[in-house]
Symmetry: C2
Subunit: 393 residues, 2 copies
């Protein structure tokens, strides 16, 4: 049976995100898994298979390079534990792999876990990173993530008449939401003036237009809908799971539909997920969304690629407050990558956890009213890979 | 529906394995994919999702670090392309991920492809590899793959009374088989004397006890059994797919059942696959096998872990010729990793291709008679991860 409607999330666990010098990669992984076990009301021995999402094992002495980084700390020998990696979509890909296995009926109770430790790296890891930076044919020419997304921001301004003040509204919204989230990396509201006066990173993206690198882990427990119902769990269903990839930024010559104003992979992934979930009008049918706001400009572009508004209308959506916590389509009520932080392998799993708990009505100060159907979206590359999941009851 | 019996392999493609300076990572990938398309009799546009197995992207400027390394060269935009990594089991894990997705009914025609380019690495790749070797806490202490497996060989000799001549018989058998395989890295028969007089690598493993590092790619096309039957394809079914991981060598303190004479992960993975495939007596029910002979000692240990003989009887099995091409249970008739070579991400997929074509009766000079049920096994770690698949009609 396909994933849609047949796979249930019965437990989620998310560590605090931030600069967690006091916790190792393995500490974070264990904390997230046991939080998810507890939430699901299951014993660890019930897990039949697991998927691990870590994007950058080289940052931590190759922890996360294969499944055994999860097997041993969680004591899960003799069962399949598989690593999945797909850039910034790594975490959501781990959830999708687990969901496919449940949908196949191959396993009935599985774990998907994403973890990344980025603020404190081993001497070897950091040296390798430095070495790559020093010798990479693009990185040495000044290619950085802010630099790549800055190009989109400038073109967006030129095409549609927005400016840095529009982007600042995204930062202000997400930092405010992060102030309501005890687990967020940044937990203080900021003002538009602070955003506009912050140091420039890559024009027009300033410091507050960029998400941080972060330590953290997140886990979800999946089972079949039939089992979730029988066990009377407070479950949420995966209604759609779409993925699309292409060479993105680095193979623009192959994609005439890449105009530096949106990502074809997000549009393709959303189309798949919407078809599976029966979403024909996301503006009305999606009640809450987490999307990949690695930079403020990315959130606006995501609005458009996800069909939350027409092309060029992303700036209008944020300006009109539609995507605030009290708006008609709240986006990144967790604080997003912008304030929650971005431990790459964990991010997609954290989004799924956030939307699950929104639909369960458990998110306290940042709870969205009437959150029946939610969306989670991660983007890597930029534009190389995009995952979209739709969750509901 | 579970994988067993419901997922069919309808096409396979394997490049020549070897020192392929004239072909890039991408060249190899394309060659394997198009060979598989042709074998399956499908058009590339029919592919609905794909999985890429590459274990070491850092060897080739991060090619294979995410799915887009496959998306662009094969022109597969707008569909899911996911990278899977699990050490030396990476390729077979890609096949398993694809099989789970077909079993779920999520996609009907999918591609699993493994590729690794190890003989010619980019300056950056080789520098990173050198840097890791120079700074890694274990590698700097002399920890190498031959060194780790040599410990098992010495213990095996001590416990069961075998010596280097027993190991040499594995090398002679697999090099002979490789001489029948035009795609193998090494295609010349060797003698026991040559093996015994070759330079020592890590006592008691000499040069011919070790498999090479290799360039190569392999691909398989999977669909549902119902579709394979309807399209009248010459298909082979996946009857069982088991995986198990643990910290292996590096966390022996957690596994009292690891005695340096066998790998618990292989025994667990085989138990899963046999249960799914209804194999109760592998010695009688398996007609042909490809197993992970990274070193000659590993093949003997695999015989025992896979249940082809009792503990301590692996040496007897090779000595009696049971596992030769003409024997009762031919093992590594392709030449194995030993002679075919070991492009890590490709190896598991190549094994699946070999067993598929053995069951189809297409392997010419190295065809095993009455090959109805076959087994493929990859091991990484050592012992960290093991995959076992059983194929049949």
């Amino acid at each position: 049976m396909p994933i849609s409607g047949n796979v249930a999330i019965i437990g989620v666990g998310v560590t605090r995100f931030g600069e967690l010098f006091e916790q190792s990669y393995t500490d974070l992984l264990i904390e997230a898994a046991y939080a998810a076990y507890q939430d699901a009301g299951i014993d660890p021995s019930e897990i039949e298979a697991a998927w691990l999402g870590t994007a950058f094992p080289q940052l931590n002495a190759l922890l996360g390079d294969d499944g055994s980084s999860l097997t041993d700390p969680l004591n899960l020998p003799n069962i399949p534990v598989t690593r999945v990696a797909n850039l910034c979509a790594t975490g959501m890909e781990a959830v999708r792999a687990a969901a496919l296995a449940v949908a196949a009926g191959e396993y009935q109770m599985v774990l998907a876990l994403g973890v990344e430790k980025m603020r404190e790296v081993s001497p070897r890891g950091s040296l390798v990173a430095r070495h790559i930076t020093e010798t990479h044919p693009l990185l040495t020419k000044g290619r950085t993530a802010p630099g790549m997304f800055a190009v989109l921001a400038n073109r967006y301004f030129q095409e549609f008449g927005y400016d840095r003040r529009t982007l600042a509204k995204v930062a202000v919204k997400n930092h405010y939401n992060g102030s309501l989230n005890d687990g967020a990396h940044f937990r203080k509201p900021i003002t538009e003036d602070q955003v506009l006066n912050a140091p420039m990173v890559a024009d027009p993206l300033g410091l507050f237009d960029c998400c941080p690198t972060t330590d953290g882990a997140a886990a979800v427990i999946l089972t079949t809908t039939a089992i979730a119902r029988r066990l009377k769990k407070d479950y949420v269903l995966i209604k759609g799971a779409g993925v699309a990839s292409w060479g993105g930024y680095f193979s623009v010559q192959f994609r005439p539909d890449f105009d530096f104003l949106g990502f074809p992979s997000t549009r393709a992934a959303a189309a798949q997920a919407y078809r599976q979930a029966g979403i024909t009008d996301p503006r009305r049918q999606i009640d809450v969304a987490e999307c990949h706001d690695c930079f403020t400009i990315t959130e606006l572009i995501n609005y458009e690629d996800l069909g939350f508004c027409d092309r060029g209308e992303g700036g209008k959506l944020i300006t009109e407050g539609v995507t605030t916590l009290e708006g008609g389509l709240p986006v990144n009520v967790s604080g997003g990558l912008k304030a929650t932080g971005h431990p790459v392998g964990a991010t997609g799993v954290r989004m799924i956890a956030e939307i699950t708990n929104q639909i369960r009505g458990r998110q306290g100060k940042r709870q969205v009213k009437n959150a029946h159907t939610g969306l989670a979206h991660t983007l890597g590359g930029p534009g190389v890979i995009s995952c979209v999941m739709v969750l509901g009851r």
